[in-house]
Amino acid sequence: MRRVRRLVPLQRLRELSLVLILIIVIVIFGNQIDNYYTPRTFNRISSTVALITLVAVGQTLVLLTRNVDLSVGSMVGFTAYYLGRHLSKTEDMSPMVLAAMAMGIGGAMGLINGLLVAYGRIPAIVVTLGTMAIYRGALVRYSDSKSVATRELPPWIKDLPQETLYKFGEYELRALPGIALGAVIIFFFILLYSSFGRRLYAIGSSPEAAHLAGIHAPRMVTLAFTLCGALSGLGGMVYLARFGTITVEAGRGLELQVVAAAVVGGVSITGGSGTVLGAMLGAILIGTLEQSLIRMQINEFWKDAVMGLCIIVAVSVDRILINQLTPWWSRTELQRMPEEPHAEV
């Protein structure tokens, strides 16, 4: 038991449970839908969840610090539009430069959020509810309510979604999910092994204790928001590549999907716990439910109700699994040592 616990720490339990549920969901839908177990389904789902996953990684960083960023949808929309407009005017631009630009714009918006939260001492939900509207308003102003059309874009960005990075039989790892996966892997290690990552957990886990421990929370929080903005900016580029047509409504409502993905994936809204891996699994779970329901032959008017039901059932099962397994994992014995090394002085 002890060994198992060492191998699989409690934090991994969440992800295990989610993987389990994901398998259950896939088996259930596989029985209901013809041609379900095909590379196509895989490619479909992986492409759809790419954007949500990418932004959910950023959201996770913010959530960990006991904050939330509701402006991600607006940041995605703004960046997507800005990049599109920019591309339509410039001759050519290398993908890397564009990506850097995307992260720069998103990062700047995220920085504003972060500064307001950390140094203006305003609750994050207040700040980002505000900037959600403000960034969207800025987009409307900037774009004069016009759209970017696909024809204005250079071919390479339009072809990005079908770019395949790695092929495994007919299962493809395409560019956009590849970007998302890359972000997940990078931030998984950052959160696990860097002291920056650990301090994010510390701040969210107990702000007072972090204060006493001398952790400079404002800097960390600002950085988390900036990274979240940068990833949202990158998300804007993904959005642009995927949809081509960008209106001022681009990305609206994304924030709830992203927060939902993260929270379903075990990231706590009260900070301090959760991983980007979990957030990704949450996104995949919701994406799988959505994509599978699209393919189910059920009455259109029933789909929303079924979706709501699926989410709550999946989350409940997850909760029950975790509740059953946790006591096994988390035992802390406060024992006296057999001999007392400092007994006499």
Partner: protein, 346 residues
């Protein structure tokens, strides 16, 4: 002592909102000659009556440390049930009763999952937001149902006293009730205590689960009631009613000084914030400001309303440090949080 209490009150969140409200009204008066038209004043409340109703209960829910994203969907479901039953030959009263019951049921479901399964309310009510709207879709599909009796629609449309419809007075009554319950009743005390420290409240023999379930049920009930108001006001119901209302409702509650982490905020603050937002939006509408800009302005207000007092406080602290020799000159420290549930005791 007396002086510092006055200070504290002046520096309170409510006072700030009151000042903002005065500014908004002043600007509106300058910008539009129609602002004071009785019809317009009635419209300010009338056009947002459903949101206003839901704000009242959302304040309770958030102070309790939870959130309810499903209110708009329950509202649509309530309106849908009422309309569908009326179409099927029931009386309005019976339909309304069933709608309210359905609202209660949805709230109960939310509450059970939150309180007894321990799933974050954000997720539960997000699923509810999708699911309850789905239920409304199942009932009405793409149809719209209307042709309510005249007396019913006139409840929502025609003036009861002057141009103010009866729903405005319903809101006023519920506001006073909400204020009394939250600020002065045992239940209100429990709501605050649980929102601040659930464990301590439970150790004190409070059944936090029960309180949470009750709140979600009330939230569902009020949402369904708002649905009925919607049906009466528009005279016609569709399953897509009130899509996206929840964010507006939450914004107003937060501007009212309620902390998203629970435990702080007052009904007075929420009421004032409602007035601020409604008047601000009305003023902008009269100046033909588009929806996105309106939302941006409200968003900026949300940020500035916290930022400016924070800066003022820092400035004050800085000044008082400069004058540290004479500490009586400034009231230092202590007032870090302008709002506190204990303010009712002072």
């Amino acid at each position: 002592m007396q002086r510092s209490k006055l200070w504290a009150r002046l520096k309170s969140w409510e006072a700030l909102l009151f000042i903002i409200l005065c500014v908004v009204i002043f600007v509106n008066l300058r910008l539009s000659s129609h602002y004071l038209d009785l019809n317009n004043l009635a419209n300010i409340f009338h056009l947002s009556i459903e949101k206003s109703l839901m704000v009242l209960i959302m304040a309770f829910v958030i102070i309790n440390g939870e959130i309810d994203l499903s209110v708009a969907s329950i509202m649509a479901l309530g309106a849908t049930v009422l309309a569908e039953r009326y179409e099927a030959g029931w009386s309005i009263a019976a339909g309304l009763a069933l709608a309210l019951l359905v609202g209660l049921g949805c709230g109960l479901l939310n509450g059970l999952f939150v309180a007894y399964m321990g799933i974050p309310s954000l997720i539960v009510t997000l699923a509810g937001q999708i699911g309850y709207r789905g239920a409304a879709r199942i009932i009405l599909e793409d149809r719209s149902v209307g042709d309510f009796p005249k007396w019913f629609t006139s409840l929502g449309q025609d003036g009861f006293i002057g141009p103010f419809p009866i729903t405005s007075f319903l809101f006023l009554a519920l506001f006073i009730l909400g204020l009394v319950v939250l600020q002065y009743s045992v239940f209100g005390r429990y709501v605050y205590a649980i929102g601040n420290n659930r464990a301590a409240a439970e150790y004190a023999g409070i059944n936090a689960k029960q309180v949470k379930v009750t709140l979600f049920m009330l939230s569902g009930l009020i949402a369904a009631l708002a649905g009925a108001c919607y049906a009466a006001r528009l005279g016609n119901v569709r399953a897509n009613a009130a899509e996206g209302f929840e964010l507006d409702v939450i914004t107003i509650v937060l501007l009212g000084g309620v902390s998203i982490f629970g435990g702080t905020g007052t009904m007075l603050g929420v009421g004032l914030s409602l007035l601020v937002v409604l008047n601000l939006r009305n003023g902008m509408s009269l100046s033909n400001v588009d929806g996105n800009t309106q939302t941006s302005v409200v968003g900026s207000l949300l940020i500035l309303s916290v930022l400016i007092p924070n800066w003022m406080q820092r400035l004050q602290r800085l000044l008082s440090h400069l004058f540290a020799k004479n500490p009586k000159l400034f009231n230092r420290g202590g007032a870090a949080e302008p709002k506190s549930p204990v303010s009712v005791h002072q």
